[in-house]
């Protein structure tokens, strides 16, 4: 805008049209800046990728040497040459067994209620706002909730059930929001056709809406699970002991998970140098599991996603 104003000024005072040289100079400068900045933006985009590559390189070069069948199948030990992470792997699987069903039932139920039953009004937006805000609550606060309610009040101790329920509440908003979006994406003519055939509301939901949105819902559940198995802070808060050798076999057993093991080995690396590399090896395992789960999510989305 300024340039235009300037030009018109010149025009009136000097009774002259544009000064071509001046315009050219300005134009070149503008284009130059445009190009330089473009590369700056590109470089900054690459920054994230470079950091990611650097992080992966460091962790793999540090931990790959420790990764062996023995490390994967041995129980935990204080001695590096004997230590393995089978207990943490089993604990992670157990955690998923709690978080998965609980979040599915709660998350899908909440989403159906909000999308299909609740009247759009104050109460509806209250629940909706509540879920959005829950998604932003720091995970350590959920840990305190778990500590106060599940560990202390219910007397579960730092067991699988206490950890699982805490994590389930933490990731619940992810499942709710994903399920809501999936249900909302089901076109209304499908519902109307079902009603037209004489189906009731619940029959329509059960037979039409849920099957049509199941891919989106499952994707949400898997994303929620992958968040749950990578979280550390809530489990630190509920007080998982540092040395748990036995492999958990029931939901009332105390347990440890991969991120907890990474945490303890990182802060204990002052005691035994090898712990740092063992933490890196455990990170590789954790990342591999997460990568696998995300791939499954993508496959489900591509395979089952119907376009309407």
């Amino acid at each position: 805008m300024k340039e235009l104003a300037l030009n018109s000024n010149e025009k009136t005072t000097q009774k002259q049209y544009m000064n071509l040289a001046k315009v050219n100079r300005r134009m070149t400068a503008r284009l130059l800046i445009n190009n330089v900045v473009k590369y700056l933006f590109f470089a900054s985009t690459m920054f994230g990728l470079v950091i990611l590559a650097f992080l992966m390189y460091q962790i793999f070069s540090d931990g790959l040497g420790w990764l062996s069948m023995d490390f994967l199948t041995n129980r935990l030990s204080t001695l590096p040459e004997r230590a393995g992470i089978i207990g943490a792997i089993t604990g992670t699987v157990w955690l998923m067994f709690i978080v998965g069903p609980v979040t599915m039932v709660l998350g899908i139920g909440t989403a159906i209620y909000l999308e299909e039953y609740a009247k759009k009004g104050k109460f509806h937006s209250f629940i909706q706002t509540n879920i959005t805000n829950l998604a932003g609550v720091p995970s350590i606060v959920f840990g305190l909730l778990g500590l106060t309610i599940f560990v202390r009040m219910f007397g579960f101790g730092p067991s699988i059930i206490a950890g699982g329920l805490t994590m389930a509440l933490l990731v619940l908003p992810i499942v709710v929001v994903a399920s809501q979006e999936a249900i909302r994406a089901v076109p209304s003519y499908l519902r109307e056709a079902s009603y037209g055939m004489g189906a009731t509301k619940w029959q329509t939901i059960k037979n039409i809406v849920l099957p049509a949105s199941i891919a989106g819902i499952l994707t949400g559940v898997i994303l929620a699970l992958s968040r749950a198995i990578g979280e550390t802070a809530p489990l630190v808060a509920i007080g998982i002991p540092a040395l748990i050798v036995p492999i958990p076999s029931s939901i009332t057993d105390n347990f440890t998970v991969l991120p907890m093991q990474i945490y303890y080995w990182t802060i204990d690396s002052v005691l035994v140098d090898e712990y740092a590399s063992m933490a890196a090896a455990t990170i590789i395992v954790l990342l591999a599991v997460l990568f696998l789960m995300n791939s499954v999510a993508i496959i489900i989305r591509n395979k089952f996603q119907k376009r309407y």
Binding site: V245, P246, S249, S250, V270, L271
Partner: protein, 315 residues
């Protein structure tokens, strides 16, 4: 949709039955089974976890070792949640009272000796020896200067005129309590002392700070003797360097040495054979074999034998 629901409920059921099932048959594996739960001091943790680790290679018992801290461990212990509670200080009267109120029989055992070690940066080539008196003076507030900006030259004039940076474990640790209660006799620590929760932080802080000095258990020093230098202490008969030999009960470093403890729930030991077996293992082999490796001085043989006998006679 039914398919999904069925699949889901089957999955849930499998989990549930698996969970219940394994609870039942966990009782018939080998001679000993079940679990032993231990919590308490972080200082004792390396030793106790090492012993537990070895015990589990012999017996099919699950020993869980936590390190919430001495007092936090006691909180769980006095209500009967744990079988052992490790402590880096003797049990307090109010804790005994709570045990009585809950009708829990408990006994405190020494398990090893820990030498409080003062460490400095490897580049520090002057303060390699301090007298006991100098330690007690320099760590107390207001003793040397009102603002506590103590210079090395304030302690001995020939040392550099650079400010000392003090470090130590925070109030969570029994080591802190020992240092404040016993060594500086409950006076206030110098202002500006940098107290940390993690020993890893302390080690790296002092290993970078030429003017740093810190105190912590000997175990954390031996594992890092490439990054830190231990100060020899003169207790009146010439400087003594802390070592597994000198921190023994009658050793020349004994003034800075304290026992570390574990408390055993005697009711649990009588009822659960695995708890008794682990207690026996601690005093027969564990404490003697693994103390040195984890940076503690072993107790005299007689004391261990006495403890072992006591445990063996429990019925």
């Amino acid at each position: 949709m039914k398919k999904y629901l069925v699949a889901l409920s089957i999955a849930a059921l499998t989990v549930f039955t698996a969970a219940c099932g394994s609870d039942d048959n966990s009782a018939d594996a080998g001679e000993l089974s079940g679990s032993v739960s231990i919590d308490g001091s972080g200082t004792v943790y390396p030793l106790m976890s090492r012993i537990a680790d070895e015990f589990m290679t012999i017996e099919d018992v699950s020993v869980e070792v936590g390190r919430a801290g001495t007092s936090a461990g006691m909180q769980k212990y006095v209500v009967g949640e744990t079988d052992f509670s490790n402590a880096s200080r003797p049990i307090k009267d109010e804790e005994v009272a709570e045990l009585d109120a809950n009708e829990i029989e408990s006994k405190e055992f020494k398990v090893a000796l820990d030498g409080l070690t003062l460490v400095i940066n490897p580049e520090n080539d002057w303060a390699t020896e301090l007298t006991e008196e100098e330690v007690k003076t320099m760590f107390v507030t207001g003793n040397i200067k009102d603002d506590d900006k103590v210079l090395w030259s304030d302690i001995r004039p020939e040392w550099p005129a650079e400010e000392i940076n003090f470090y130590g474990p925070n109030e969570n640790h029994g080591t802190y309590e020992f240092f404040v209660d016993v060594i500086i006799e409950k006076q206030d620590l110098v202002a500006g002392i940098n107290l940390q929760q993690e020993y890893s932080t302390l080690v790296s802080l002092v290993s970078d700070d030429k003017n740093g000095i810190a105190f912590f258990g000997f175990g954390y020093y031996v594992n890092n003797d490439d990054k830190l230098k231990a100060v020899s202490i003169d207790f009146g008969n010439g400087p003594v360097a802390p070592s597994l030999e000198t921190i023994g009960e009658d050793g020349p470093y004994a003034n800075f040495t304290r026992p570390v403890f574990t408390n055993l729930n005697l009711d649990a030991a009588k009822e659960k054979p695995q708890v008794k077996a682990f207690a026996e293992y601690i005093f027969s082999t564990g404490a003697a074999d693994f103390a040195g490796e984890t940076g503690f001085a072993p107790l005299p043989d007689e004391e261990l034998a006495e403890a072992l006998e006591f445990v063996q006679n429990l019925k």
